[in-house]
Amino acid sequence: MSTPARRRLMRDFKRLQEDPPTGVSGAPTDNNIMIWNAVIFGPHDTPFEDGTFKLTIEFTEEYPNKPPTVRFVSKVFHPNVYADGGICLDILQNRWSPTYDVSAILTSIQSLLSDPNPNSPANSTAAQLYKENRREYEKRVKACVEQSFID
């Protein structure tokens, strides 16, 4: 059945294929357009460089009026990523705009990797290390980059 959400997700997918942003990719799962798998490559010149981080994106019929639920499947050590992979990012919560599409979501998460917001921490250890011990922070991030090759 075609609903506004499904129609819009087909458009999002088409755009992502025709005009893919650097360093991210995503596609609906085989049998359900409401659940997507995505990959974000760690941005260059950050400790996340070379990492391949997998995510799932779950949409409801209210998309794009409401944001999807986005979660890292790969382990990510980051001030704004919860232990269960949930992401604390304003555009996925109170700053969501229906004008965002999958491409915009993935590129925003990609830039969150480069620029954490330690003032709204989802992982307090990561936030503290990011602020106080950048070397140790980078070490822990690099460990999850290594881990992302295996996952």
């Binding site: 609903t3 755009r15 919860y82 269960d84 604390c88 705009s97 229906p98 599409d101 709204s120 989802a122």
Partner: protein, 262 residues
Amino acid sequence: MEPFTHNDGNRDELIIQQKRDIEKEISDTTPLISEQLPLTCLYAEYSGDEIFTAKIQDLSKKYKFIRRTRPDGNCFFRAFAYSYLEYLISNNSAYQEFKKLAEESKEKLVQLGFPSFTLEDFHETFMEVIQRVSPDNAGGHSTVQDELHKIFNEQGYSDYVVVYLRLITSGKLQEEADFYQNFIEGDLTIEAFRHLEVEPMYKESDHIHIIALCTALGAGVRVEYLDRGEGGTVKAHDFPEGSEPRIYLIYRPGHYDILYPN
């Protein structure tokens, strides 16, 4: 954003789930836009309340009917769109003018920096709705009126209309940021206000939203305020000030419905 001092993502999910349950209850029991009801139906909601009873009495001298909207945070935008289109389907020249303005609005928003790919989706639906309620359509006024009512109770169409009006409102705030900055309390920038209070669905509207939207579309709105204020009469306010109202709304704290003058 609220700083979180815990490590538990589940709290957010619990709150979201609870919000969804409440929203579902409202959407199961209240249509997006109701049929026309006699204004006197308001008495039942305030029985025994002298202030409100006196004010409803006052209001009923000027208005015969009310049309209720679902209280989902989008009520102002939905009521505005419905009421304005209702006016336009009986005024062909104003309809044609509005259609032209709506057609051109997309390009304007793109120039203001809105992403054209997603904007197109909302704009297409918005134009489709306008076309479907054209006064020139076969069947005449009552058929078009029925079509309008049907479209606005179809969540997909109805919400896309609301989204598009939110984007027009946001665009107006951006275009005249210096002016609208004066209406914002605290130290929020216009930019932040647009992203927190205007573009997200289900966010309630304030005077600033109303003024920006009316100005952008050149449509006058009269709002009747039914509240606990003294005086025994309902106070009205026209947006933009001094304009000829085409849309009549009733505001009760937190909610807008549509009014029909005698």
